[in-house]
Symmetry: C2
Subunit: 326 residues, 2 copies
DNA sequence: CTGTTAGCGCATTCAC
DNA sequence: GTGAATGCGCTAACAG
């Protein structure tokens, strides 16, 4: 039992059918009478048959790996928590399918790199993060239909809602001059929070104070300094990542600015450091694992289910209001 | 050029040799005259030949995936930063080999799960974390020689040195009653820091105050409360993970105990939250990515290079001494 | 619905 | 050293 060397032929023989029938039954698709179906299933169970994934994929011409291509300028992007969390989530989600995950960074200008990826016949599908509209229009043909994206247009968090809820909360608690540290402008996923911010500012007749970040805490520190220099009366800073928000808080503390008394701060991601920060960082949830798993499945399934995953605000100390988070 | 449909046969034809010879040249091993070798290489380059990984692995009977099996009791262990970082590092390191990574949790009592893994013929190798000696002795035969471990006995961080350096620093700065929040006792990798701690305590004639943690901040909070209840005069708490140390700091703050004035705290990992903590957490580096990549390569290569990766102390605010970290 | 016949693309025996 | 044959284990066409 559980002998590694039992093949489809053994199962077929024991079930009294042809290998083709056994294959049809065990691979799911294809017609089969109830009788032979049962016989094959029994035989497979008794023999402890385990299909050989590699042979199956060869015959089926479907690769064995899903590559997670992260488009970013920073060489160390593959150590970014978002990337590592997403990668691990995919690796866990695809394990039952016996499909592995590869991780690779591609540059902002990545046509050649994508072409190289497309020429790898071992690739079952690709999940692409950090894309923009133009890039998707020029995907290599072999990758079309096998690619799912994370971010705007693909599996994405409803960052507009999450950030919007935080901004609305800030407004409701008297903050009038709110600055936003947004994502990089080359990234499509940066747009929704910016749109939400502009809309709320306009509706409340408040000024627009927008600077670009890159999801790192270093940029958060720089952004905070820049904001307080350009607009000294700023009374709240919203960032689109917890790391950036923590950087903002560091810079404010260094400048002797109190949080939340002088300036409120909010982040995005609800990563563990947010709750552990001092004071505890207000933020919004980001179901990275669910998003990554959905994207991986979509890439394999062919049809990208353009789903927006919910983001819930977590009001904590730094937003200056009353605490109300479990 | 870069046509996906050029196969070994095409290369052979263009080079004027047989497919067998072309295979010998392109797959590295096997005899071949300099003449035909050059011809094959040229033809392959001109045609933009890309070997088909799946076919190659089928013929070679070598799987296409490396599974990262994490042995732990907690169901959410796969979201642990150590696990996600290691998984991403493997997925990036194995990408050039066209081998994907799968991630799976196995329970503490995992004989059956490992047997199931062993029966997967798509598996090229396994990297196991959270092992102990007994487990390794009972590895399924098909996994032997294809398994590398992370932690004691495998690719591991020199945690004894890292934690030892922190403890020595605490002692040198006048801390006399140091408690250690160690890893779980079922984990082999928990032992070295404990040994280092015992040795240093013994040499300095200091008491041993040892509690077990599990690398989470929740356990850190509980551990801190427990320590201060049992040994109220404790003047330093060393934890073997940053998350745990941050939990310790939270519990101390909640109890009105000042860090580092009343109690010094140190962690382990040098994760970003450590530097961002308030006060900044003293810790020691943990090259998780390098360790994971080395383990993955070792698993594929067959011979586990039992390497101890260095851990360097990062003295920051919480250890109470003079700051001295870049 | 089922069995037979061909491959999938490459690596590896063997003789030569 | 080289080529022809065989097989890896399974799936997909095609007739029946």
């Amino acid at each position: 039992m559980l002998d590694v060397r039992v093949g489809l032929a053994d199962v077929a023989r024991r079930a009294g059918v042809s290998p083709a029938t056994a294959s049809r039954v065990l691979s799911g698709s294809g017609p089969a009478s109830a009788t032979s179906r049962a016989a094959v299933l029994d035989a497979a169970a008794e023999l402890g048959y385990q299909p050989h994934p590699v042979a199956r994929q060869l015959a089926r011409r479907s690769g064995t790996r899903v590559v997670f291509a992260v488009r970013d300028a920073r060489p160390d992007i593959l150590r970014d928590p978002f990337v590592t969390r997403a990668t691990a989530a995919m690796a866990a989600a695809l394990d039952p399918y016996q499909i592995g995950v590869s991780l690779r960074r591609v540059g902002l200008d990545c046509a050649a790199e994508l072409a190289e990826l497309a020429s790898d016949r071992g690739l079952a599908a690709m999940v692409l993060a950090g894309h923009d509209r133009e890039l998707l229009a020029h995907l290599p043909s072999r990758l079309r239909g096998r690619t799912a994206t994370i971010g705007t247009g693909g599996a994405d968090v409803d960052s507009a809602a999450g950030v919007g809820a935080l901004l609305a909360h800030l407004q409701a608690h008297g903050r009038r001059r709110i600055a936003l540290v947004a994502g990089p402008s080359w990234l499509a996923a940066s747009a929704p929070p910016v749109a939400a911010y502009r809309e709320l500012a306009r509706a409340a007749g408040q000024p627009v104070r927008l600077v670009r970040g890159d999801f790192t805490s270093a940029r958060g520190r720089a952004a905070a300094r820049s904001i307080m220099r350009r607009w000294p009366d700023t009374d709240a800073i919203a960032a689109v990542s917890d790391a950036t928000a923590l950087g903002v808080m560091q810079a404010l503390a260094a400048a002797g600015i109190r949080v939340p008394d002088d300036v409120a701060v909010t982040g995005f991601d609800d990563a563990p450091p947010a709750a552990a920060a001092h004071p505890a960082l207000s933020t919004a949830t980001h179901p990275v694992e669910e998003i990554a798993a959905a994207a991986a499945r979509a890439a394999l399934g062919g049809s990208p289910p353009v789903t927006l995953f919910p983001s819930k605000p977590r009001f904590r100390r730094t937003c200056g209001g009353s605490a109300s988070t479990p």
